[in-house]
């Protein structure tokens, strides 16, 4: 990390605690220091309940830090959202059931109050491989197709920051692998600062430039790993010994924590 270019996203000694109904509070995150360079793809990897989604929600401006500071391009996260410069794909696809695929993807335009760029919507529908399902409703789509529509919606305004919260968490292994390849292809058409939250080691290595491994209770950063594979990455990289070695290494890094849980 060079000091010359300031980080696009910066978390400085951030902690987050939640107050429970019984009056006690639980610490979800503690002492998180994290920076994402402009155009970098970072994956946050960890077991469920380690607070990795909270990291994403802090950056999305959906939660505020109990201590420490979260800055995006030097400003508060909510300002990025207010400027309609943030794209988020949620674990639950969060498509509106009463809108068609095209209308769902065009929703960010309408929320921003700008004219819908139909050519761009159509181009994205094609990019995510939903041609022919333009006017279908979410209930008529498969799980994988819904996630693709959700990713297209996150990309439509050409955001500065893309946040992916386990977007393929609910999919089966085959579809998930397929979606990873698609996302890799989509992402290589335009690099943008991206944070992916996942519990899948394969997914993190295949997609990210850098991986942050987290442990739970309270959520802390365990280690950082730079992914050496050059871009664009062909699915064949998944079969190389280097890839397997890295998967083993990171799986081991996650394991003691899982054994302790």
């Amino acid at each position: 990390m060079t000091q010359a270019t300031p980080d696009a996203i910066r978390l400085d000694s951030v902690s987050k605690s939640f107050r429970l109904d019984d009056g006690n509070s639980v610490t979800a995150l503690e002492g998180i220091d994290l920076g994402l360079r402009e155009g970098e793809f970072v994956a946050v990897l960890g077991p469920s309940g380690c607070g990795k989604s909270t990291v994403l929600r802090l950056i999305a401006g959906l939660e505020s830090a109990s201590t420490g500071e979260v800055r995006i391009e030097g400003r508060a996260p909510s300002q990025l959202a207010a400027a309609h410069r943030l794209g988020v794909a949620f674990q639950d696809h969060a498509l509106l059931p009463w809108l068609s695929v095209a209308q769902n993807i065009a929703l960010p335009y309408r929320v921003a109050g700008t004219k819908v760029d139909n050519a761009r919507v159509d181009a994205l529908i094609e990019l995510v491989g939903l041609t022919g399902f333009r006017d279908a409703r979410p209930s008529q789509l498969s799980g994988g197709m819904r996630q693709r529509a959700s990713i297209a919606r996150a990309l439509v305004l050409d955001p500065d920051v893309l946040l992916l919260d386990e977007p393929f968490g609910a999919l089966d292994a085959v579809t998930r692998r397929h979606m990873n390849v698609e996302l890799q292809r989509i992402w290589s058409t335009r690099t943008l600062t991206t944070l992916l939250v996942t519990h899948s080691v394969d997914e993190a290595i295949f997609l990210a430039d850098r991986i942050i491994v987290m442990t739970g209770r309270p959520g802390r950063i365990l280690r950082e790993v730079t992914v050496p594979f050059p871009r664009p990455r062909d699915p064949s990289v998944l079969r190389t010994p280097e890839f397997h070695a890295m998967v083993d290494e990171l799986t081991l890094a996650l394991e003691p924590e899982e054994a302790a849980l």
Partner: protein, 251 residues
């Protein structure tokens, strides 16, 4: 669906309704329940007889107008109150309490207040509107709370202003619950109008029922009740279809 499956599914309900009608007819024809239970055909013949159309038509016109006015007024007030609680959240608890209290108050208990405040002809409208208000208020407030957390998160990350989120998210999310409320409000609005007429209206189906009851005009009594319940039932069915369409589209 095959004919067999169709028969399996729709056979028993049709049979049930037919048996009900048959039982009504037989009990009436053989006077099993005394002189005050007419056969179904006698009631239908009474309804079909043009000689009674003026009497029934005038009463039905008055009652149905009161029902329509009460339904629309109640829907308007219920929606307005629900919107108010959405706009001014601290007002919610107090309005909840008032609406629940008014609902738990039997219509008859409010009658004296209405008798003082308004003409006897508007009491059916008022009681009908009041009953509808409660249902629509409950449906609309719970509908406005039905927005999914994931959708709310999405709109926040898209930087939606409150008004945008209201129009594009909260309102469509509220429609299924609201459609159910609109359906359930139909019999309630009829009930309100009829009870309202019992407090001294000069015309209407409710009044007709009471006078027929007191004067032993048995076919007229049953005809008035049948006309009221059938109309309510048909409107209920139509709004049920509307509800199903809304649920398909917005859920």
């Amino acid at each position: 669906m095959t004919l067999r499956a169709r028969l399996h599914r729709y056979g028993p309900p049709v049979l049930g309704v037919l048996l009900f009608c048959l039982a009504w007819q037989l009990i009436g024809a053989y006077r099993l329940a005394g002189m005050t239970w007419p056969p179904l055909t006698a009631v239908l013949a009474y309804l079909a007889d043009p000689a009674h159309h003026q009497l029934l038509g005038r009463a039905a016109g008055t009652t149905f107008a009161a029902v329509a006015l009460g339904y629309l007024t109640g829907t308007g007030i219920g929606l307005g109150l629900a919107l108010l609680t959405r706009l001014v959240r601290p007002a919610r608890a107090g309005i909840d309490r008032l609406v629940a209290l008014v609902h738990a108050t039997p219509a008859i208990a409010l009658a004296p207040v209405f008798m003082i405040l308004m003409s006897r002809e508007t009491i059916p409208v008022a009681i009908s509107a009041l009953a509808v208000t409660y249902l629509i208020y409950v449906a609309a407030t719970s509908g406005l709370e039905a927005t999914k957390a994931a959708h709310a998160d999405l709109f926040r990350t898209l930087g939606a202003r409150p008004l945008t989120a209201f129009w594009r998210l909260e309102l469509p999310s509220a429609l299924p619950a609201l459609a159910s409320g609109l359906k359930l409000a139909v019999p309630v609005s009829f009930m309100g109008a009829i009870v309202g007429e019992w407090f001294g209206a000069s015309r209407g189906l409710g009044l007709l029922m009471i006078s027929a009851m007191q004067n032993f005009q048995i076919p007229l009594l049953w005809a008035a009740v049948l006309l009221t319940t059938l109309t309510s039932l048909i409107l209920y069915g139509l709004l049920g279809l509307f509800e199903a369409a809304v649920h398909r589209r917005f859920r």
